[in-house]
């Protein structure tokens, strides 16, 4: 008998797809947000920093519950989505992407925020004196200097999404190929007493997490020594 069934591979593929999608989208949102947080003097800075950090301390079940109620057909967001003619989000891959983005937001934004703060204003002012435009400064000065933070953000966002369970349990519906991610599959195997499959899949998750952290450390040092 093979170590993993087709359904297990499907869950593995789905998990990696979810984590990759969420990481890319979070970087797109997180870069400008972290940049703004690092440089603004707005009085909204502290409340917004706190909101971004909320998923760090909120139990995933609370997050899942709110999302289920908000995104469901009777919730405010769910009604708005239906009014736009879009399909409902709970129990879909898209819904998991939205939920995971909220859940992993602080893991991406905080390293970026710290990195941008560490770069400081000085290099930007120098670049400005050399007549670099704002976008030029951001992409050619700030971003390369903050590179280790970007790597950390991407790896943490990815790994945290791979390990997500509580939110998925609440709003996933455990649908094969849609929302049955690796952590759910492991849970189901354990419930059904199928410890061998559970341990093989758990080992997969352990390996993914280890490789991610190793890659992070390697990428950071290579960039710094270059």
């Amino acid at each position: 008998m093979a170590l993993l069934t087709e359904a297990d591979y499907q869950a593995l593929g789905l998990t990696l797809q979810l984590a990759a999608t969420v990481t890319v989208l979070l970087l797109v949102i997180g870069l400008p947000l972290a940049w703004w947080l690092a440089h603004t003097r707005s009085r909204w800075r502290r409340p917004i920093t706190a909101v971004v950090a909320l998923p760090l301390v909120l139990p995933p079940t609370v997050l899942g519950f709110y999302l289920l109620m908000l995104l469901g057909p009777n919730g405010a967001a769910g009604r708005a989505i239906a009014a736009l003619g879009l399909s409902a989000l709970p129990f879909t891959f898209k819904g998991l992407v939205v939920a995971s983005m909220i859940y992993s937001l602080p893991f991406v934004v905080q390293p970026l925020h710290n990195a941008f703060e560490a770069v400081g204003r000085r290099p930007m002012e120098v670049a400005s004196c050399l007549r670099a435009g704002p976008l030029d400064r951001f992409f050619n000065v700030a971003l390369p200097l903050a590179w280790p933070g970007v790597i950390t953000a991407a790896v943490l966002g990815f790994a945290h999404t791979v390990g997500e369970f509580g939110v998925v349990l609440m709003i996933g519906g455990n649908i094969p190929g849609q929302t049955r991610v690796l952590s759910m599959r492991i849970y189901d195997h354990v419930q059904a007493g199928e410890y061998r499959q559970a341990s093989v899949l758990s080992l997969c998750l352990l390996a993914v997490s280890f490789v991610a952290l190793l890659a992070m450390s390697l990428l950071r040092t290579r960039r710094q020594s270059a």
Partner: protein
Amino acid sequence: MVRHLLRGLLAACALCAATAMGQTAESHITVAAAADLHQALDEVIAAYQHDHPGSRIDVVYGSSGNLLTQIEQGAPFEIFFSADSNYPQQLVDHGKAGGTPVPYAFGHLVMWSASIDMKNVQVADLEQPKFGRIAIANPQHAPYGKRAEQALRAAGVWAPLQSRLVFGDNIGQTAQFAQSGNAQVGLVAESLVVNSPVMGSYAPVPPSLYEPLKQSFVLTKKGAENPLAQDFAHYVQAGQGKAVLSRYGFKLPDEAKH
């Protein structure tokens, strides 16, 4: 001042510890129960505690497969109320039970919806797109989920419904999926909806379509030595316990024989 406060706190802690130890083990048990019993067993326990002041019964609900796994891994439960007879038998086979499985009720599967009038709806009708997403419990470890799969297969709609099925972790979460409107229809336990304040309608799934949900309990090794566990097990099968169970739509073992 601070020292006085500290001394007071210490004394309070000592008192708490003393009362905790003073409680004999017999006056408290923890029961593991299938999620379909949620409201019914809560009511039975409330009645029991009313009749037996000084006894305390805590209950943990979950899917029967989940609870079996927990007990086999040493979870401290005295009685295991399953939604079928298979899981209690497994506990016996694995040498972790303190007795033999005793049937206490027969459960029923219904099709429930908050938004669609389910009157006169047949299982095969669920194939129509208007029934949207259909929630069932996970067949891998929830007996009601296994029966839902059997019923959908028997009605010939299991394959076409694949893309519209949503799986609850246990029958309680399955009911919640349907009651919150996130799934249009739920194949749930009658006991969870028959006295529910949530507005909705339901139709029975014909019992001929699925293996009977003959629900059994079994005492664990820990429970076999516990008088409260034994007494409560009798209570569930006797007058008042039976009355509550039948009010929640369960058939009782002696009725089912006829």
